[in-house]
């Protein structure tokens, strides 16, 4: 019996678990929240949006697979880039990825809210979502929209949960993901069988004055749906036989995800129609389901409730996953000395990266006031940018460390990373152009975050220099230098240490 409180160590993850972590993030909320928004931009062409995103992202998937097999570090894209690039670049990579996850958290929370209201509505607890007014706050005599309030509560809840416990093991994630996929397959099954689908009209693919290029901004917006393999690589050290299982998990989860997306989007557009889907926004899939699912069932009353439940469940589990992911990025940066040391420390009682989680939470909570579309845009933008860097990292690593052992080498190098860079860059440019026209707020916030990053970087190095260690000469405040000094100092201390006995402690002798 030990004299202090303990926590159980984390479980080891198999191929299935790793695959499910990736799928869980990709099939999570994106499909429920973003399908309607994609249909709004691209019309029935939204089907291609998800297929093409799958293709674009596959090249980055190859890069992730190669890096993850050769660099045995948890921490995802940031850890790989840190291995290859200089301080500022790797700092910015972590900074962007951190933000992408935090905003994704806000996006999922915002997607959760209307679906949750829809679920309550299905059971007749509240009026239809568009008729739910603001929740009156008696104390401050002001109203906040119900959706924002719900999103805020959801974020706060998951952050609190993750701040105090290291739960969320792989096996739970596997059950979550299996549940989500099952619900979606029920949706697809009933949708295909419904009379609405047999009379489905996919023509014109690009209605109105849209051209085939309308898929590009929609691709940019929904790109966030494919961020899952970064999540797989944030847990690589917990995966069994990683050099084989990580690449496999990346490819399998990507392939399955694309198939699931295509089926679901086809059914949704086939039943509700692109315009109906677009009008339903974040709750598009749930709304489509309530149209064709059988009603009058026992207990669940309305078959559509299953799908609405699926949407609520998916957005919540995806929210949980990105809360963990964002804090892990910040934690890794803290460990590397690229954020204040507190970020890289575990809490003495909870055993979690407490500071990293709480800080991520503040940004996430602040972001739930954003419109859903802005959140989607910003998160996608930052994932696109960071994926460009990851593809660049593969090329740089191949050039600088040709003799490094790479258990998985991508085929047809250097084509995949080059294509990855070019295609991601095209989407980035299109997305930025789209943002200038439709969502300047998102663009301003994105640029501000990067500026804030540079300021933080400079400030942090000043802070380190001010502490009088490793005064920056060639590379400002290089963390390595700090550590060397620390070790040397420790060696000198060693000879003089250990003589003092603390009288105060003698008191606990017969405890």
């Amino acid at each position: 019996m030990s004299s202090h409180g303990e926590r159980a160590p984390e479980a080891e993850l198999g191929l299935l678990d790793a695959t499910m972590i990736g799928m869980g993030a990709m099939i999570g909320a994106g499909i429920f929240v973003l399908t309607g928004l994609a249909a709004e931009i691209a019309g029935p062409g939204a089907i291609f949006v998800f297929a093409l995103n799958g293709v674009v992202t596959a090249f980055t998937g190859l890069s992730y697979a190669e890096l993850a097999s050769a660099i045995p570090k948890s921490g995802g894209g940031y850890a790989f880039v840190r291995e290859v690039f200089a301080d500022l670049q790797s700092f910015l990579m972590g900074w962007m990825l951190w933000f992408a996850y935090m905003i994704a958290g806000a996006l999922y929370a915002l997607g959760f809210a209307p679906n949750f209201l829809e679920l309550l509505h299905v059971y007749g607890i509240v009026p239809p979502p568009d008729q739910v007014g603001a929740i009156a706050l008696p104390v401050i005599d002001a109203g906040i929209p119900a959706g924002v309030g719900l999103a805020f509560v959801a974020v706060a809840l998951f952050v609190a949960l993750n701040a105090v416990s290291t739960a969320a093991s792989g096996s739970i994630e596997t059950i979550f993901t299996a549940t989500k996929v099952t619900i979606l397959m029920i949706f697809v099954g009933f949708g295909v069988a419904s009379p609405m689908f047999s009379s489905a009209e996919f023509q014109p693919l690009f209605p109105g004055d849209r051209t085939a290029f309308a898929v590009l901004p929609a691709m940019g917006l929904t790109f966030i749906a494919f961020e899952g393999y970064d999540l797989i690589t944030t847990v690589t050290e917990e995966v069994k036989n990683p050099r084989e299982n990580i690449p496999k998990a990346i490819f399998v989860s990507l392939a399955v995800t694309v198939v699931v997306y295509l089926l679901v989007v086809t059914v949704a557009i086939g039943t509700l129609g692109a315009s109906g889907l677009a009008a339903a926004g974040e709750a598009g899939i749930a709304q489509a389901a309530t149209e064709f699912m059988p009603t009058g069932l026992p207990v669940i009353k309305n078959g559509g409730a299953v799908i609405v439940f699926g949407a609520v469940f998916s957005t919540l589990t995806a929210l949980n996953a990105v809360v963990i992911a964002s804090s892990r990025v910040a934690f890794s940066m803290g460990r590397e000395g690229q954020l204040l040391p507190g970020f890289g420390q575990l809490h003495h009682r909870f055993g979690t990266p407490f500071v990293a989680i709480v800080t991520s939470a503040i940004v996430m909570l602040g972001s739930v006031v954003l419109p859903t579309q802005s959140a989607g845009n910003m998160s996608s933008l930052f994932f696109l940018l960071s994926f460009i860097v990851v593809n660049g990292a593969v090329i740089k690593l191949r050039r600088e460390r040709p003799d490094m052992t790479r258990p998985y080498e991508m085929p047809l190098y250097p084509l995949p990373p080059l294509l990855g860079i070019v295609l991601n860059l095209v989407l980035t440019v299109v997305l930025i152009e789209f943002l200038i026209r439709t969502d300047p707020l998102a663009l301003v916030l994105s640029v501000s975050w990067i500026v804030l990053g540079v300021v933080t970087y400079v400030g942090l190095n000043r802070f380190k220099t001010a502490r009088g260690v490793g005064a920056g000469t060639d590379e400002i405040g290089e963390p390595d230098e700090l550590e060397t000094t620390d070790v040397d100092a420790a060696f000198e201390e060693e000879s003089e240490g250990g003589a003092g006995t603390d009288a105060g402690l003698a008191a606990d002798e017969d405890d």
């Binding site: 030990s2 004299s3 202090h4 409180g5 303990e6 926590r7 159980a8 160590p9 097999s69 050769a70 660099i71 045995p72 570090k73 291995e83 690589t236 050290e237 036989n241 990683p242 050099r243 803290g334 460990r335 590397e336 000395g337 040391p341 890289g344 420390q345 575990l346 809490h347 003495h348 009682r349 909870f350 055993g351 600088e400 460390r401 040709p402 003799d403 490094m404 052992t405 258990p407 290089e478 963390p479 390595d480 230098e481 700090l482 550590e483 060397t484 620390d486 070790v487 040397d488 420790a490 060696f491 201390e493 060693e494 240490g497 006995t501 603390d502 402690l505 606990d508 002798e509 405890d511």
Partner: protein
């Protein structure tokens, strides 16, 4: 302040491999340079360090191992001459680096004129290599049975567990704080982890990194 070190191990044989594995358990970054391609694959399979295939005395290979940002280099191949060459090349490329050289005879003590530390694996084993590389604040005292380590760890000011009593801290399972400060009494729930003092701690390798984080930041 983070106490995570960036370390190059030259030679992925028994000594190098064991040393690298222990360092990784303690939460440090390790890169292994190994000549034999097949051995490289095996090390990559173990998945705790990046591996560079090649001769560590070759400056190009050392550069691939990012010698410029490493805190320490440990040349642990079976050939003393090669090890010395690796250490000196690394010091030339990165003057601040801490160099640890494996030698094959006692007379090798004289090598300390050129490198920061020497070791005889036959006498001391990989345990000593870890202690030399990390420094005096964390000392592995013994491998008890199999993999369990008993270490003497100096608590760092500002570490998450510093100035807390044991009952306030939840260590991961597989951790036992054995001694009171400086090993005079057995630890009790109200024992405080004072920064600057050392404690004897038994840990299982899986959780050593987490324990290091709590005690060393």
């Amino acid at each position: 302040m983070t106490t995570k070190l960036d370390i190059i191990i030259a030679g992925g044989g028994r000594v190098g491999f064991q040393t690298a594995e222990m360092l990784d358990d303690l939460g440090h970054d390790v890169r292994i340079v190994e000549r034999d391609g097949e051995r490289c694959e095996q090390i990559a399979d173990a998945y705790f360090a990046t591996v560079i295939e090649g001769d560590a005395a070759n400056p190009d290979i050392l550069e691939q191992a990012a010698v410029d940002r490493a805190d320490a280099v440990a040349a642990l191949t079976g050939e003393t001459g090669l090890n010395l060459a690796v250490c000196m090349a690394a010091e030339r490329l990165s003057p601040e680096i801490r160099s640890v050289c494996r030698i094959d005879r006692a007379a090798g003590e004289s090598y300390t004129r050129f490198v920061d530390a020497v070791l005889f694996p036959e006498r001391a084993g990989a345990r000593v290599a870890v202690n030399e590389i990390i420094g005096g604040d964390v000392q592995t005292l013994a491998d008890v049975t199999g993999t369990l380590d008993i270490m003497q760890i100096r608590v760092v000011e500002g570490a998450p567990a510093a100035n807390k009593t044991l009952q306030e801290i939840r260590f991961p399972s597989g951790t036992l704080v054995i001694s009171d400060d400086d090993g005079e009494r057995i630890a009790r729930p109200d024992t405080t982890l004072d920064p600057g003092r050392r404690y004897i701690v038994a840990v299982e390798p899986d959780v050593a990194g987490e324990v290091m984080n709590l005690l060393r930041g």
